[in-house]
Symmetry: D2
Subunit: 329 residues, 4 copies
């Protein structure tokens, strides 16, 4: 098969935004320029394909964005794109703009949308995993995860100041509806006493035992990191149970870190990863790849079919959980 | 009257902790050393006076703490100190340790406690305002306010990334149960569209008008900063009302910044202020001052009787509110 | 005299850039919009007036810049503007664009240029002090000073980690060719042992004595903050003299912080100050003010004739130097 | 062979300090406690072994250090330890304290010292790579590298503000005497136009061409990242050559980032890595490992003989250099 010639490539961001998306857009656009391809930016995710919000870009469109959180192309969830009719409209605009391929940056939902479009119409698509949760199969890290964990660690460092000064027990909820990656990494790094994640059905008794143990050692600051999706329910619920059990022994406080975790200047790692994936996504399209997500495995570029990337879940690193248990004694 | 000779001075932190308290402790201790006075650290606020947790310090006790949040002396609220008997116990320990004076770092409650002790027993006390809320009469700034507002601004900068990328309306609750200083300063600095504070009984209609106005201008990111003590109730309540009024026009989100605001490395300003107040507190005791809070007014050291400091409230700067209104158009 | 009607106001930044300039530009532009005045941005300082790089702005021209360092209008030093002919050209462009007034943001040189232009041609000009050095007479603080001192303090906090771990003596050069404000504020806040500034002709003997003293106390980390303009010459010169005197007793290191001090996200304070000054500058023009710099004195808006602002120097706060001496024992 | 029983393990840091060393010390100490081994801290590196500065530690010795830069055990280079006599003295103290094994944290020199000691005396030693340069064979990352690159990127983000505002060409020297890892990672992440490293003998002509090219595109900010060990000599030399070639076309500036790169709060990654390596080092000793450095390869724990770790050099990732070239167009 003769290699397709790529004259125009579109790029969009979809789903929740993540730090590093701008660095990835920049790398896609600059790689296009490098390979004499004209880059097109699609605004507001798949909605922009449907509404024909597709604009020509060049190297200067992406200047001074590598260090910015969020996404200059904006992001949105598109209900219309979930319908055949919506994707038909998108396809018509793709044809109108003569785009030869697409790079989509986002998470699970983004890749499902890409799969649907790619199966119905002749457009090669390559995906870049951009989500702070790190919950995508086929890559060691997703864009935004490194930044988000550092944001959490900085916030918990601040809370520790107060926890220590007042001998308080803090429950800190971090993002992660289905995956505990943020909780485990930031929990170890913040020196928390306990980490509760969706992957483990540790009941609250385990927490009680840990509190009994540290209480005997007169440890003054106690930080419990709880992933959103933990099976013991909300942090408020946990706080209530501790109060019922321990009464006044602990002064408890709850903090939900919330949306600060999604934003912020991307870390060095996230920018380097974004730059690698952006360049490789354009090269993958040029080499005839389609319907694949691009990621890294053991520091090397790795491809995963959208089908697999969206159906499988990455595994929690049991070694890290073991480390957390040993050093939180 | 012959000047009292000061051989030993005690220092304690009480009430909620604030960044800069450690820098103030350091300045008190080092000033004592400079003036050949032996400094004593009291642990856990007034409780430590009652429990005789009073330890000799020297220059090396305060090394490498100027940049740390929290307080190495710890802080606590003491119920026993609110009783005459509790203060009697404290007084006995003060006599036992031969302390000639006390420096207390904290807020309203701290100064009320100092007043009670000072009126019942012969111990000169000087107070240093340490609270992130800036709600103390008699000083331009309290320790921790500058750090807390910067923490808020950094957090809101991150949220803006997401707000902009998704065209969302964010309600962000910041600390300030009785005072809107944090909200006003950080709201202006973060470029928020609206600031709601306890001092102003702007009803929610004002917010609605502002939303109508910005909506017509197609402004994409909308940030509403709400002080804890705002009279329209919680941020969740505000969100509900906006949803009722505007339906789907706005995608709303709520973030409660919470305890991250209390911690963190103090800013340059807070460290400089802490250093000045710490030195001046020791000198004020030496000069015969008692029952006064030390602060700054127009960059000069200023004394306020505890009585006045605890009864009056600092005024909100109307000029700043005017500025906020003009530039949030 | 009938008040002049202002339809169009130009704004420019000139001289070295400073964090907070963008926040000031934003406030000027938004105040104009608020008062139904059309704002014009002049690119590259006075050079842009000469080259007619003058563009209409509106509220959206300044979105998402409040938190950015540098200046979106760019800055440059203009040799041609120092000539009568250059200013004549500038004046022609001002007339062509029908600008009724100018807001100029910068330092000494900026105000001297404004004075020359304003004395030769009928254009009211108001200045905003924007320079990290805080060396402008007529205002308590200049834009960028608060950010710069925090940048220095953060850097020195990092260096202290290393200094302490290795028992080293660090000479750290900070900006300040004629003024020691950055050195004094950051030196106190960073807990440095010694601060050398242009205003004091402390000879190197004073440093030697201090080193002898701390050496006897076995202090492990020694940080000496040196303003660029210190009279003992460069930090390398100081290092050499210490080596000659103390031989191997100290392991010395030199760090010149350099240009990182000029950039960065402005602090809360700098953004609030910029917002106040920007609003007030527009209002001052509307009220008929001309040839004045706008600043703050004791938290209130304050006007100073350009003539005075450029001829006088702000005084170093002797109280701060006294504090520094006491706590660096 | 019967497994040796470990009752006492010593830990020390040696060579240049790196962020994450404290987190590693903490993990070693806490793992010891977990496995009922008594941990001993050796002060000031190998010098402390010779001078018998060896102290018993427990879990509370390492509280609140996970987030601190530097090393609480201090570090030093020891000339005496390079002699047989020095090591003999060290060995006597090891026997006196009944240490059954050692964990040494540092770089090349540290491991060479460990090898010498281990070959002459019967003491099992495991090494943890702690150096910001990432120049150790046998591990994907060394402790401190992630923090150092983020520190550089933050600094360059600030410099870019100024570079852009003034259309300047900046030469920024970063650490890396023999290896360009810091330069390449931070150079990509900071969006620099050119990266000069010791591994590549790009002559200055390549830089000239790049400058010609970007000059034609009217790019406004130009950042050149130069590793200390680059073969074109110092950044000042480079600046001079550019001035000779391009005359006034570029306003050039030089910044040497220096020692700020060694300090600072460790990132999430560095703390997680330190925690893993610290736990694994203790377990490795228990399992009979000796004379090996512990690192990670592809996210898994990996052992390398000291001999190999000190003789081989890690390879620069050519893929990253390719990416840098493509996106710096």
């Amino acid at each position: 098969m003769a290699k397709k010639v790529f004259n125009r490539i579109g790029v969009l961001t979809s789903g929740g935004d993540a730090p590093g998306m701008n660095a990835a857009i920049r790398a896609v656009v600059r790689s296009c320029v490098y390979y004499d391809i004209t880059p097109y930016g699609v605004m507001e995710g798949y909605d922009g394909l449907i509404k024909n919000k597709i604009h020509k870009m060049d190297a200067s469109s992406v200047k001074h964005i590598i260090h910015q959180g969020g996404t200059i192309l904006k992001s949105a969830r598109s209900k219309r794109f979930m319908t055949i009719g919506g994707r038909e409209k998108a396809w018509n605009n793709i044809k109108k703009k003569k785009l030869d391929g697409l790079v989509v940056i986002g998470g699970d939902g983004t890749f499902k949308g890409a799969m649907a479009l790619g199966s119905e119409h002749d457009i090669p698509i390559v995906g870049i995993p951009g989500t702070i949760d790190n919950d995508i199969f086929g890559t060691d890290f997703t864009l935004g995860f490194d930044t988000a964990t550092n944001t959490v660690v900085e916030a918990v460092d601040k809370i520790r100041d107060t926890a220590t000064s007042h001998s308080r027990l803090f429950f800190i909820e971090v993002m992660g509806r289905d995956a505990g990656f943020i909780a485990v990494h930031s929990g170890i790094a913040a020196g928390s006493e306990e980490i509760l994640i969706p992957e483990k059905d540790r009941d609250v008794e385990h927490l009680f035992e840990s509190l009994e143990r540290t209480s005997r050692r007169n440890k003054t600051s106690r930080l419990v990191i709880v992933a959103e999706g933990d099976q013991n329910g909300s942090v408020y619920n946990l706080e209530r149970q501790v109060k019922e059990r321990f009464g006044d022994r602990y002064e408890t406080k709850v903090t939900i870190l919330g949306h600060v975790q999604r934003g912020g200047r991307p870390t060095c790692n996230d920018r380097v990863l974004a730059s690698r994936l952006g360049v490789s996504a354009v090269e993958a399209l040029m080499e005839g790849k389609r319907n694949v997500m691009i990621g890294t495995r053991n520091k090397k570029i790795n491809f995963t079919d959208f089908d697999k990337a969206t159906k499988q879940n990455p595994k929690m690193d049991e070694e890290l959980i073991r480390v957390a248990n040993i050093i939180s004694i």
